[in-house]
Subunit: 246 residues, 2 copies
């Protein structure tokens, strides 16, 4: 991979907080893809290309919790970093109601190239970052930050804040037990059984790390101001929950 | 890590077989450690430093199954690649009846350096190798090859061939169901509950790969000839089991 561009960023690498924050769906950048995969400008702004608002919340939490943040800088339609390379959704040809023409019948060489350019370096960097923390004896929890659409296949979702876990529910339940003023549910609107917890399964579970995937309804974090407010709202809850779970 | 020596090797990288074989405890080389960690020559040959015979069997299986093999080239007393960086056993100060003077009260900088030199590159390479196979749509199973001591804390072990699994027992049970002529047991002399299945938990389980950890009693594979014979004995069993489990 040496010499090639990287499609992720690490911020606050030496942050003193216990959380490591991950935002796999931070970007809707399709810049490297010919013809933007055949999508309209409107589709590129929609949740199929990224998790709108998630990066703003993740950055806010990183600042408030002094947490290291790793986030993608390319759209999940090029490679969904929260899916393994053999999953249909890793390079989705269809997302909810939308066809993704540029992902249809992808040749194996293209699947391999995207895996080598996006998936492997991102997760290798996260693995190295976590391994170094454990070698140094630092308390560590893994928190992934996502957003979800208020309408999905035409159905309105009531939940505002979903907390999802993989094998270990310590941190998720500690967050759930605290008041945020949001309509909050455990393993809703998705759960690990839907295959949405790949990053947690790949990193947190084998290393025995407390972990949670935070899903925020994207109409609540549509502007930078709303994203900052959401980070302000969630940070004390997460700080207390980390203290309980670690 | 660029420019530093690597402490693993990959053989038969383009092997056509479904198995990827891992041998974490292949080597007793303490070459880079000052004073060989304070151990006698006899201790360096003993099972505390490596899994005697395991690499010979792993190479034999790699040849017979046309399987890619990745193996360590440094002793597990420097870093036990089958343990996460925060485990006491990753850089053990005591192994069975033996003190390891050079690992006593290791400074954090030394734990970090060994993690960066041994653990991270080995598992990053294995992760990349498996991810590329999945991107290419290749059927893939993960098999780790180990050996164990006939005497442990003075007690004689009757089992000759142990088959250990992490979350998914498909391949382990498919091997167990076949005749090898060996005294064979499932999850014996260890099991995942003892923390010995880290490589499987880190790579096979999150990627949904069929997997097994093979443990062979080391008095049965003490010579190159015996190692080849063991590979000849096990290869047809594993080939059939892979066909059933994949």
């Amino acid at each position: 991979m040496s010499g090639s561009a990287s499609f992720f960023q690490i911020e606050n690498a030496e942050g003193g907080g216990a959380a490591v924050i991950v935002c796999e769906h931070a970007s809707n950048d399709l810049g490297t893809m010919p013809g933007a995969l055949g999508l309209s400008a409107e589709q590129c702004l929609a949740h199929i290309a990224w998790d709108p608002g998630a990066l703003g919340v993740a950055k806010g939490l990183s600042a408030l919790l002094d947490a290291t943040l790793i986030h993608a800088t390319a759209s999940r339609l090029i490679y969904d970093l929260n899916r393994p390379p053999d999953a249909a959704g890793a390079m989705a040809a269809r997302s909810e109601l939308h066809d993704i023409p540029g992902n249809r019948d992808l040749p194996v060489a293209q699947r391999l190239a995207r895996t080598e350019t996006h998936y492997i370096p991102f997760h290798a960097a996260l693995f190295a970052l976590l391994s170094r923390r454990l070698a140094r004896g630092r308390p560590t929890a893994l928190i992934t930050v996502h957003s979800f659409s208020p309408l999905y296949f035409g159905v309105r979702r009531e939940v505002e804040f979903g907390i999802i876990h993989d094998a270990d529910d310590r941190l998720a339940r500690a967050i759930l037990a605290r008041r945020t003023g949001l309509v909050t549910r455990l393993n809703d609107p998705y759960s690990a059984a839907d295959g949405v917890a790949h990053t947690l399964a790949l990193h947190a579970t084998p290393l025995g790390l407390a972990h949670a995937m935070l899903e925020i309804r994207n109409d609540l974090i549509a502007t930078p101001r709303a994203q900052r407010a959401m980070a302000d709202r969630l940070a004390p809850t997460i700080r207390d929950a980390l203290r309980e779970a670690l």
